[in-house]
């Protein structure tokens, strides 16, 4: 199974801080990769590097064997990389439907040129994430959990090959978390590989095929959830060193 996404020795520095330090990993077809780590570990930076919002200080990123390290954000979107944002900023003045229409118009490939067809696709995605009855509301009127769904719908409307989810479960209750897990599993079923950044360990454990752990910008573990979560370095990162 060839990797759809390959991160190769990627480092990102800011003045006085190394946010991501020589991180390498791959993402396979139809794989769900969970990324965890304490706050400030560099998870969102990593996602921004993949989506194109940030450029690496050094290292390369490959998508479907093509080097995309220097491609601008919108080109990566057209190639098939979609992302949700941790701090959600929908297009506030637009309706829920129109928010998703943007994704349908401009996403993977050249998107959909025809506005009517784009609207249909947008409606389909909104139904898929469960926001069907909110289509005409203004996006800024949605509550927290629904905003998360909107983020997903927008990314899905782009028909991505890889979906980067940044803390899509934060602030949800247990029932809502289960719903999101189901939606993500359905998304994977439809052929999309997913990178999921999360804090809710229990949820991500049941969802992910593999887990990646970041700590202070370093990758400290990469493997099946069970073995990663019992890794002592990982436990130390979260809980601190055991005093004997």
């Amino acid at each position: 199974m060839s990797a759809i996404l390959e991160i190769s020795h990627v480092t990102r520095r800011f003045t006085g801080l190394v946010a991501v330090n020589d991180v390498s990993f791959t993402l396979g077809q139809k794989e769900i990769l969970g990324v965890i780590g304490p706050n400030g570990a560099g998870k969102t930076t990593l996602v921004s590097l993949i989506s194109g919002t940030l450029r690496p200080s050094s290292g390369d990123i490959f998508f479907e064997r093509n080097n995309i390290t220097n491609l601008p954000t919108y080109r990566r979107a057209r190639l098939g990389i979609g992302r949700t944002f941790q701090i959600m900023h929908p297009f506030p003045g637009l309706s829920v439907l129109d928010n998703v229409v943007v994704g349908a118009l401009f996403g993977h490939g050249n998107g959909e040129r025809d506005l009517t067809k784009a609207r249909e696709k947008a409606r389909a995605q909104l139904d898929f994430v469960g926001l069907g009855r909110f289509v005409d509301q203004r996006a800024e009127e949605l509550g927290g959990p629904n905003r998360k769904r909107l983020e997903l719908a927008k990314a899905l409307a782009m028909q991505p090959k890889v979906l980067l989810c940044d803390e899509v479960m934060a602030g949800l209750n247990l029932v809502e978390i289960d719903e999101v897990i189901d939606v993500l599993k359905n998304i994977r079923q439809s052929g999309i590989s997913i990178v999921v950044i999360e804090h809710v360990i229990k949820a991500i454990k049941s969802l992910s095929d593999r887990l990646l752990v970041l700590h202070h910008g370093d990758k400290i573990a990469d493997g099946p959830p069970d073995s990663v979560l019992s890794n002592s370095a990982v436990i130390e990162a979260y809980l601190g060193r055991r005093r004997a």
Partner: protein, 315 residues
């Protein structure tokens, strides 16, 4: 409801087109001025209202259009149409060449950069001999206000139709997405740099054409009046007053403010400007999203609309 609106707009357009037949000379001249201002407002609407980039440099496009016509007709003895084309080409070239670096800036930095560009262009043109330097150019006269009126109206109609096309096109959606959340738009596949420059060029084109018509109409241009920055501010005020990012708002704003300004200056010359300033201040405080927004919400909120605006924005 929709049919009613379109019907109303068509009726108004027909009345406007027929105005020169029964209006006085003064009225027709006022009409030309107002129509051209409305074109400017609508042009600014494209870059400022729909794309969210408040340009203080549209006066440059106006000047380029004016001088395009001026240079073509005076220095090279070309017909008016050629002058308009020259002005348009200059505007588009400027938008692409200088738009790319300047559109990378956000918010008020973009505004200031365009303001600075306007100053620079004005100063440069004052020194270039083909443009007649500081003295300016005198164009061949054409005494046909009727023609200029219909030309201006035609340009306004085209500009408005273009904006209407924007609201239902993929390009327009991209612009609005850029305005609402530029990074979000990029992440969803919008080529933000290209779209911004295209919007800037489109905005500039209409502005330049208006400048060209105006130049031929008053038969005289000089750097100070052609690149006048207060014109840019007028465009902005009219658009914002009428409702940025709406179809009719800028036109409405232009008509209303122009009429008020005209009435005042015929009554009390000095106070006209003063009143204008006061109106601007009051409008920004009470109706920051323009008249269009007031009309949209007045039915549901009534007078509370203004109070809510105040409460939301004060500390």
């Amino acid at each position: 409801m929709r049919v009613l609106r379109i019907g109303l707009i068509l009726a108004v357009t027909v009345v406007l087109a027929a105005l020169p037949l029964f209006g006085s000379d003064v009225l027709i001249q006022f009409g030309i001025n107002t129509l051209l201002l409305a074109v400017l407002a609508q042009g600014w609407n494209i870059i400022g209202g729909y794309t969210g980039y408040a340009s203080f440099g549209n006066s440059v496009f106006y000047g380029l259009g004016s001088y395009g016509v001026g240079i073509a007709m005076v220095q090279w003895n070309l017909p008016f149409a050629a002058g308009l084309i020259l002005g348009g080409v200059l505007a588009i070239a400027f938008a692409f060449l200088l738009g790319i670096p300047v559109l990378r800036l956000k918010g008020h930095y973009f505004a200031i950069a365009t303001l600075a560009l306007a100053q620079v262009m004005s100063a440069i043109v004052s020194n270039v001999s083909i443009a007649g330097q500081n003295i300016g150019l005198v164009l061949p006269p054409l005494n046909n206000d009727y023609l200029f009126y219909e030309l201006s109206l035609g340009l306004l109609i085209i500009a408005t139709l273009t904006v209407a096309w924007l609201t239902r096109s993929r390009f327009g959606f991209g612009l609005i997405a850029i305005r609402e959340n530029e990074e979000g738009a990029a992440v969803m596949g919008v080529n933000t740099t290209l779209y911004k420059v295209l919007a800037f060029a489109l905005s500039g084109l209409f502005t330049a054409l208006a400048g060209g018509i105006h130049a031929y109409w008053i038969t005289f241009i000089d750097p100070e009046s052609a690149f006048d920055i207060s014109l840019n501010v007028k465009m902005i005020i009219m658009t914002v007053f009428g409702g940025p990012g709406t179809l009719i708002g800028p036109v409405f704003g232009a008509f209303v403010l122009s009429a008020i300004s005209e009435v005042l200056s015929s009554e009390v010359t000095n106070v006209a400007g003063l009143f204008f300033g006061v109106v601007v201040v009051a409008a920004v405080v009470l109706m920051p999203r323009g008249i269009a927004d007031v009309m949209r919400h007045f039915r549901s909120s009534g007078w509370r609309y203004f109070i809510e605006n105040l409460r939301a924005h004060r500390i």
